[in-house]
């Protein structure tokens, strides 16, 4: 349970998903496993070739040695037999007597018995031999003994030895080699399926005349002892000695099911001596084999080794290598998993985080504790995210402030409007009463002047209240087609008295061609322009020029009012449109706010451009499409 959870968490930490991970995995495998497989395959092929070569040399060497061994063993027995025959006076004196007795039909038991006993003794010494014969020169068997008959009575035989021949000096007389059977001193036979081997040696008297033949038979089941060829020497190597017709004479593994009367089923019987062939042998096993000649005999020594045993170790090695490769591949995949995970997981994390931010979540952080570029990216990302969050908070804060301010202003507006109405009625009453008083006290100049002052003050209160009301309770524009130049004329007319009082010269700049009419509320727009113009005049305490201009370019109409006053400090530019902002000691500070409100309700905008010390320009900008230009 815990292990499973741990594994899942590891899997989540290093997810192999996405194209990047897969690419890394594929490249890792391609760059590391592919060369490994190729080198292994090449190594296997080369090793196999080398091994095959080794096997061939081994087989050749083994065959050479074994062939010599076999030849020398046969020769040894031959020599031994020759020694027995040549070095024994008993034989060359006894054989003629015995053969004469056999021919004459007389029973010379004593001689034959003595010969028999002698053979028995010799056979006991020469234990690899199965049977020992003595024949006279007429090739008649006159005495014979066998291992299983040692100690039994001798039975003379008139049977002729089938192959007992005059022994040949095989080493020195090559003419015997390719000759007929009777010339050879050593023969292999297969009688009634029972293979045996026969050796013979002449018995000569003191004058060198041949008086008889000493012959011996070796059965195959005793050949191992005879040839002193232990099976373990051969090991997995099956070896055969075949005669000149290819029939097996000697085999290393006795239990091999083989027909001794038939040539050995192997291409090596016909193949050139010393060649190594790969073929399927009589048992259906694929083998590597070689053939060499047996020195001194017209035989071939054939050695076979199964391919399976020859290349078994190589095959084991290949399996081992394959297994190791599989393990290596698994380890590699695991490593790639970790590496790709460590590269891709942070990227994945970043992508997820970025998506969350895009979805509107703020303050998303990634946890990439690394010192490399990815770690750097992560830290930068976090900083960026934090910065974004701060900015968003700041914006939200500002927005809230703005909302609060708007709400405040709205409530201030409500309040102001309420107060204004409360004040207005008594004010009107007071003004009206004052009018009456003024009429009736015309005869008192002092009182009249005070009444006039009170009237002036009341008018100021009234005008302030009017401002407040028009700011707090703006009415919707009642639009009509208005020619901007006519609007300017009206404004100029209205402000002329104040301009003259302040020593300000008024100028009007209008284009020569007619200006498109605008759909405006003439009353409201006049109020806005008069406010701006009076502001300009009031700014020029020491006189100056107030320029009212109309310009129309393309789809935009501009009405501007420029003064040559002290200008507005840059830090105050933002504040001048705020309600109740004033640098004057008179007025409500609502003039600019009211003007801007009027312009904006008409879909235009009020721009200000000021250079301290040179003056200010207020420009009303109307885009004709927005202010519904008159259709002329």
């Amino acid at each position: 349970m815990n292990a499973a959870r741990g594994l899942r968490s590891v899997w989540r930490r290093f997810p192999i998903r996405g194209g990047l991970s897969r690419r890394i995995l594929v490249w890792f495998l391609a760059l590391s496993l592919a060369p490994l497989f190729v080198s292994n395959a090449v190594g296997y092929v080369v090793s196999r070739r080398i091994l095959k070569d080794q096997v061939r040399r081994y087989l050749n060497a083994l065959s050479e040695v074994e062939a010599r061994h076999v030849a020398s063993e046969i020769e040894r027995h031959q020599l031994y037999l020759s020694a027995v025959a040549a070095g024994n006076n008993f034989l060359f004196t006894t054989v003629p007597l015995a053969s004469a007795a056999m021919r004459e039909g007389r029973n010379r038991d004593s001689t034959l018995n003595a010969l028999h006993e002698h053979l028995d003794r010799k056979l006991a010494e020469l234990h690899p031999l199965t049977e020992l014969f003595v024949a006279d020169t007429g090739e008649l068997i006159i005495a014979a003994t066998r291992h299983d008959r040692i100690g039994s009575s001798y039975i003379p035989s008139t049977e002729r030895l089938p192959t007992v021949k005059e022994p040949a000096d095989v080493e020195s007389d090559p003419s015997h080699h390719g000759g007929a059977d009777e010339e050879a001193g050593t023969h292999a036979h297969a009688l009634a399926g029972n293979a045996f081997h026969e050796l013979s040696s002449p018995i000569v008297d003191g004058d060198g005349r041949r008086v008889g033949t000493l012959a011996a038979t070796v059965l195959f089941d005793r050949l191992q002892a005879f040839l002193r060829m232990p099976p373990h020497l051969a090991g997995d190597v099956h070896s055969f000695i075949v005669d000149e017709r290819g029939r097996p004479v000697v085999i290393s593994h006795l239990h091999t099911p083989i027909d001794f009367s038939q040539p050995l089923p192997s291409p090596l019987i016909e193949a050139p001596v010393g060649s190594v062939l790969q073929y399927v042998n009589y048992e259906g096993v694929e083998v590597l084999g070689t053939a060499v000649t047996v020195p001194g005999y017209d035989w071939r020594y054939i050695a076979e080794v199964s391919v399976a045993s020859a290349f078994g170790e190589l095959r084991d090695l290949a399996l081992l290598a394959g297994g190791l490769q599989a393990i290596f591949a698994l380890v590699l995949v695991a490593v790639v998993w970790l590496v790709a995970g460590s590269i891709v997981a942070p990227v994945d994390q970043l992508v997820t985080a970025a998506e969350r931010i895009r979805g509107g979540e703020l303050g998303v952080e990634v946890r990439i504790e690394r010192d490399d570029e990815i770690g750097h990216l992560g830290r930068t990302f976090n900083q960026m995210s934090a910065e974004l969050q701060r900015s968003a908070h700041r914006i939200e804060e500002l927005h809230e402030q703005e909302m609060r301010r708007a709400a405040q202003l709205a409530s201030v507006g409500e309040l102001a409007s309420g107060i204004a109405h409360e004040i207005k009625n008594p004010l009107v009453g007071a003004a009206s009463g004052l009018d009456l008083v003024a009429r009736r006290i015309t005869d008192d100049p002092g009182a009249a002047s005070i009444v006039e002052q009170v009237r002036f003050q009341l008018r100021r209160i009234e005008s302030a209240i009017r401002d407040l009301l028009s700011y707090a309770r703006p009415s919707d524009p009642r639009r009509a087609r208005v020619d901007p130049t006519q609007l300017l004329d009206r404004v100029l007319q209205l402000i002329r008295p104040q301009a003259e009082t302040a020593g300000v010269r008024l100028e009007k700049v209008v284009p020569a061609e007619p200006v498109p009419k605008l759909r405006l509320d003439p009353e409201q727009m006049t109020q806005a322009l008069v406010n701006l113009a009076l502001n300009g005049i009031q700014a020029m305490r020491d006189g100056g020029i107030l320029t009212l201009a109309v310009r129309s370019t393309g789809d935009v109409a501009r009405i501007s009012i420029t003064d040559t006053g002290p200008g507005i400090a840059p830090e105050e530019i933002e504040r001048i449109f705020r309600p109740f902002f004033t640098t004057k000691h008179e007025g409500t500070g609502l003039g600019l706010a009211i003007s801007r409100g009027i312009v904006e309700r008409h879909g235009g905008r009020l721009e200000v451009d000021s250079t301290p010390g040179q003056g200010s320009t207020f420009t009303l900008v109307f885009e004709l499409t927005r202010t519904e230009p008159a259709r002329v």
């Binding site: 207005k424 008594p426 009453g429 009206s432 009463g433 009018d435 009456l436 009429r439 008018r459 009017r466």
Partner: protein, 125 residues
């Protein structure tokens, strides 16, 4: 014969001072607080001119004029109307068939009012 003027004004100070000013000017002046009282009075007392505030408790000045029109009283048919309003601009009149009215802002003062009334009633030029 003195011309008779009816002043309809809810502001006591304005009503009193305007009445006094008009009396000083030699008119016979009646005054009421509401349009409703004015209608009541007009049923029995024909006047030459009505000076009314626009804003009144209940019926306003313009409605009062419309109402007089529908009453069809001969005594009121020729009555001229001066609206003496606190507002700067004339309030839009819904029905253009109403008889002509003169709009005088209160801020213009008694002198302007008196001048207008004299103009309407044709006295002293």
């Amino acid at each position: 014969m003195k011309k008779r003027i009816l002043v309809v004004e809810d502001n006591r100070l304005v009503r009193g001072s305007v009445t006094a000013t008009l009396k000083d000017a030699g008119y016979e002046v009646w005054s009421v607080e509401t349009a409703e009282s004015a209608l009541e009075l007009l049923l029995e007392l024909p006047v030459d001119l009505i000076v009314t505030d626009y804003r009144l408790p209940g019926m306003d000045g313009v409605s009062l004029l419309a109402r007089l029109q529908t009453l069809g009283s001969t005594s009121t048919e020729t009555t001229r109307m001066v609206i003496y309003s606190a507002a700067q601009k004339p309030v839009p009149q819904p029905d253009s068939s109403l008889p002509e009215t003169t709009w005088i802002p209160k801020s213009a003062g008694h002198t302007a009012l008196l001048r207008a009334i004299r103009g309407i009633l044709g006295e002293w030029g």
